[in-house]
Subunit: 199 residues, 2 copies
Amino acid sequence: MASKDRILRLKEETRCNILDASLKIVKEGGWDALSMRKIADEIEYTAPIIYEYYASKDAILMELTRKGFLLLAKQLEEARDRHRLPEKQLQAMWSAYWDFAFAERELYQVMYGVRVSCCEMAKIMPESEMPMDLIWDVIVELMLPHVGTEEEVCIKYYTFWSVIHGLISINMVNRGNTDETNQEVLKTAITGIIRSIKG
Amino acid sequence: MASKDRILRLKEETRCNILDASLKIVKEGGWDALSMRKIADEIEYTAPIIYEYYASKDAILMELTRKGFLLLAKQLEEARDRHRLPEKQLQAMWSAYWDFAFAERELYQVMYGVRVSCCEMAKIMPESEMPMDLIWDVIVELMLPHVGTEEEVCIKYYTFWSVIHGLISINMVNRGNTDETNQEVLKTAITGIIRSIKG
DNA sequence: TGTACTGTTTAACAGTGTTAAATAAATTTA
DNA sequence: TAAATTTATTTAACACTGTTAAACAGTACA
């Protein structure tokens, strides 16, 4: 009867190995490199065996996503418990959130649907800078008569873009908020930043 | 010799048809549904013909990305030209940016690497709400003694999250900013929002 | 008319997720 | 212990993916 336990333990271990192997492959070659056969190679089995443990590739991604959220929650709690005042807590928590995103970059990607540049050279594409340039100019004008340094304008620009792009991403990937909430968030953020630019 | 022109015109048209067909397929079934054979079906050719016009599938995505940036830039310009004051211009431009993202949702996705929930049920996963709950609570506490409504807290939360998630996405998908710039943007935004919460 | 060239398709390769059938190993039963 | 049954694992296959090479058709030119 103890052998039943041992077998169950072994099964649980393989289940875990599959996740570990997946993450390893992704860390080495990105999410596109992840395939059932490569996972099988890594755990020294053949592909169909994986289906004894997970119903599909999606189920594996799902489990990794779940683990990601759990880990993030844990780190947020730890950050919170390092402080007493709510404002300090919030600051520490968002800082922990930021650190998590880059320490566990692959998990964050699958958790929030951030795809790393589908066509690699999108960054070398001059057209991709046109929207930025247009808005950049208006920010510069808004700061007049003070002539902002490149760094200053850059910070303003990215603050704007982050709010908008973040809100858009969240609405696209997850269920969306109500339209009113979105507009409220946008209005609050944008007018806030504009005020901060004008001093 | 005019026939040469006609043939060139036809080629240009097919080049364009390929893009149109691609976008149509994506709008109907999402980016995963896009395949060379389906594009070929749509333009009533066989798959290898596409390689006479685009070097690879990636090249097609790239061209769509380019068109996206051009369209976005155009709409930003139009928004700007509807106003005179820089602050009004900025507001209109970001509003146009927002509208573009959802009017041309597929283009926005390929432009900025926003993948729509890889494993569809991530939203039904209770763990995915743990990080939000943790931060939610601290925001509520920060607002004390005023007891915020659900809507109020929600707006604060999403304002925070948008800034952070937006900045993270941008850094992951494109080339990153310098660390100092990131930290500056983060600090500015977070302290700003915290201040606005405390009134 | 025959030759070169261009447009287009068929066939194939290597890869993907996934499933069904075949086989090997272990366990239970007689 | 030997046979029967169950479990673990693999091989083979299907339908799909992007991509390429070879075959075929059609047009233009000599």
